[in-house]
Symmetry: C2
Subunit: 122 residues, 2 copies
Amino acid sequence: MSNTQVLAASEPGGATSGVPCVPPVGERPFSAGEAEAAARMFKALGDPVRLRLFSLIASHEGGEACVCDISDVGVAQPTVSHHLKKLKEAGLLTSERRGTWVYYRVEGPVLASVARLLGHFG
Amino acid sequence: MSNTQVLAASEPGGATSGVPCVPPVGERPFSAGEAEAAARMFKALGDPVRLRLFSLIASHEGGEACVCDISDVGVAQPTVSHHLKKLKEAGLLTSERRGTWVYYRVEGPVLASVARLLGHFG
């Protein structure tokens, strides 16, 4: 099962929703599988350059940015591509080619499910 | 400035509050310093064993657990201690010795500020 599937259950139509299978962190101890899935997300966000790239895309109009918009974080293009790939693998971004450029979009429901993991504490 | 200070501004009394200095990820691109501070938190949560330990403490009564309660995640005690230290360094846990045992407590406001980073997207 992919990481996105564990963290965001599939809707009948096949699209991912924001419904998390992993409970909020204060509800009960995570199982090994839940911890694996959630840790993969946090690890993807746990690099400063990757997080800057992610915030750049997330704060761009419509939560989407062209690679041509995201080359000013002080690292070379291959490094940018590497980080974007990691964020895609974690399910936090999707990408789409339109003509010359690839556009990256934040997966809002997945991000929301990660936020819910940490919320409702106490 | 410590990580906790960047993510959770100090209250007049000196205790940390949940007010984040780092904005939600969809608000504007993070600065290098903001990304550093936030990535450190995510990195601390980005290990499956560490995350299981964290969820175990967070879901324990009062968001607090004795080390004697948290030895059943399938790793040796020195590994448990190593992970708890990393979570403390990130500002996500505090600890206190009471008699024989050390008690670990989740820093609720810091956790909430990390959740807010990911929330309010779109």
